[in-house]
């Protein structure tokens, strides 16, 4: 649906985006993560056809995005810009009506009404944009982005400034759009949001540092530690665990949890569980210790500053 191939964008001597390649498939949400100035907005603007890449190419729905095709392809793209960009002296409905005209929507009134309903804005349709709160403005901007039912959604910091309830509704809405077949690329600083929302996470820092499912990214940082939670006092089972992993290995105890570093977690974990059950332990949970996405992100950012490039799998399923 969205194909970015070796995208590079320079502004004078400064390289904002460097050789970025990735795809976003139909019914997929990809979160674009990166620090300020990482090139997220530039990437989105290139994908929206607002600025041209210095080199590389973009295809939307199989059609090359060029200066000549930009006008037509923008009909298939919904781009939520960083600022809501509403005309303050126009009402919510009037703002949407202008965009309905710009997209040439024949059944403008019906679509506007339906979109207003979707965002629970029916009662505010006659409110001037200038009178709206920041969250409401963002909501209207999102409604505007979805008005023409685009196949591709590009969202720049969509939940910035939104309260938790509106954020949750927004996530539900994106889930619906994904189910309807949309390809969605969302730039965000919010790692929690990225994890909840996205099928894959792309970490951008001028170049594409990593792109994969959140769980796979976290697994990259997995330390090989396994956590076992038992009912009752876990200290009594420390010798049992050491009988499997060796007496030199430290078994940490934290509340009802035993935590142990394993050389070969896949082979050793079942043996530990068997030994614990034989020793009378009532096991509540066994899981590998997984880093938070934040740890992965920080690790990737740290590595991205080093000269060598990380290996990146840009297409879904290729990771």
């Amino acid at each position: 649906m969205i194909q970015a191939s070796h995208l590079t964008r320079r502004f004078g001597q400064r390289t904002a985006v460097n050789d970025v390649t990735f795809e976003v498939g139909r019914s997929e949400i990809v979160a674009l993560l990166g620090p300020n100035g990482a090139g997220k907005t530039t990437t989105l603007r290139m994908l929206a056809g607002l600025i041209a890449p210095t080199s590389g190419s973009i295809a939307i729905d199989g059609h090359a995005l060029t200066r000549a095709t930009g006008g037509t392809l923008r009909n298939r793209i919904g781009f939520l810009t960083e600022a809501p960009g509403l005309w303050d002296r126009l009402t919510i409905k009037e703002n949407l009506r202008v965009y309905a005209g710009l997209y040439g929507l024949g059944d403008a009134d019906r679509r506007i009404d339906r979109t207003l309903e979707l965002f629970a804005l029916q009662d505010r349709r006659a409110t001037l944009a200038a009178e709206l709160s920041k969250g409401m403005r963002q909501k209207v901007a999102l409604a505007r982005t979805l008005l023409h039912e685009p196949a591709v959604l590009l969202l720049d910091e969509p939940t910035s400034g939104l309260d938790p309830e509106v954020t949750r509704n927004f996530r539900m809405l994106l889930d619906e759009r994904r189910a309807a077949g949309c390809a969605i690329l969302v730039s965000t600083h919010n790692l929690d949001e990225a994890e909840r929302l996205a099928d894959r996470v792309a970490v951008l820092h001028e170049r594409l540092v990593a792109i994969d499912e959140p769980a796979v990214l976290r697994a990259r940082l997995t330390t090989g530690r396994v956590i076992v939670r038992v009912a009752g006092d876990p200290t009594v089972f420390v010798p049992t665990v050491q009988s499997i992993v060796g007496p030199a290995v430290v078994v940490a105890v934290d509340g009802t949890m035993l935590s142990v570093q394993l050389a070969d977690a896949d082979r050793q974990t079942p043996s530990i569980v068997t030994a614990l059950v034989a020793a009378g332990a009532r096991i509540l949970e066994v899981r590998p210790e997984m880093p938070a996405l934040e740890d992965v992100y920080l690790h990737l950012m740290e590595n991205s500053l080093k000269p060598q490039a990380s290996s990146v799998s840009p297409t879904p399923g290729a990771a």
Partner: protein, 266 residues
């Protein structure tokens, strides 16, 4: 060009203007001045002072430059001359309005951060600029036309006999339906061109207002009797302004650099 897109943007411009009528105050003031000054000078002052215009030898001499109708009295001929000169003020009226509205056209959208979502739609640069030009031109011309109607109506009602009939000439027609709108178009297009190249509406206004200078010079030259714009001269000026507008339109589209506007403006 998609008319529906231009219409949608034009509707936005009119709604915006309808809720921000103060933007039309400058053009309204110039229109009122264009009405008060000529009637004050040509009719009210002589009536109150008791000194008819025809008593002033200089005015009699200058009025003959205009080639005014020979069958008119000295008073009527001078009135005709003055009313013809003040008609030039209606060139400045739409230009003033154009400046007030058009200088905000692009840079205003950028400052309000409404330009990026707008450019993310299928709207072309030509469609966007057409809507911006018409959005500023039509209200300005409407106000100017009302002023002109009052002006001509006032002449018919208050001027000396024969003046109104003498005003109804091809020259007046050319000035009002060709030269004035064309001058407004040129100033508008120039303001929009500048508006899409600068970061600040005030800069656009300052550049755009430069077009007033040749118009004012023309007025002064006519008043002094050193220049008289004949019908043919006005037709040529009108045609030149239209040609200049076409050129500026092409330049506006060519120089409207979406990337620069989005990425370098702060």
């Amino acid at each position: 060009m998609e008319i529906t897109r231009v219409r949608a943007l034009l509707a936005k411009e009119f709604l915006d203007l309808a809720r921000n009528r103060s933007a039309l105050v400058p053009v309204a003031i110039v229109t009122v001045m264009s009405l008060v000054l000529p009637f004050g000078i040509a009719i009210a002052v002589p009536a109150f002072s008791g000194h008819p215009l025809g008593e002033d030898a200089d005015l009699v001499r200058v009025s003959q430059v205009a080639g005014a109708a020979e069958n008119l009295s000295n008073d009527a001929r001078i009135q005709l001359f003055l009313f013809q000169q003040f008609l030039m003020m209606f060139l400045i009226t739409p230009v003033t309005g154009a400046m007030a509205l058009a200088s905000h056209a692009v840079v205003g959208e950028k400052q309000a951060r409404t330009l990026e979502p707008l450019l993310a739609t299928p709207v072309s640069t030509f469609e966007l600029l057409t809507a911006k030009v018409l959005g500023a031109l039509l209200p300005t011309l409407a106000i100017s036309a009302i002023g002109l109607g009052l002006y001509l109506g006032g002449i018919a009602a208050f001027a000396a006999p024969g003046v109104a009939a003498a005003m109804a000439s091809l020259r007046t027609l050319l000035l009002t339906i060709l030269v004035a709108p064309a001058a407004a178009l040129v100033s508008l297009q120039a303001a929009i061109l500048i508006s899409s190249r600068v970061n600040d509406p005030r800069t656009a206004q300052q550049f755009g207002v430069l077009i007033i200078i040749p118009l004012a010079a023309l007025m002064v030259a006519e008043f002094s009797g050193s220049v008289w714009l004949s019908t043919a001269a006005l037709a040529m000026i009108g045609a030149s302004l239209v040609a200049l507008w076409c050129l500026l339109s092409l330049c506006s589209v060519a120089l409207f650099d979406r990337e620069t506007i989005l990425t370098r403006w702060r």
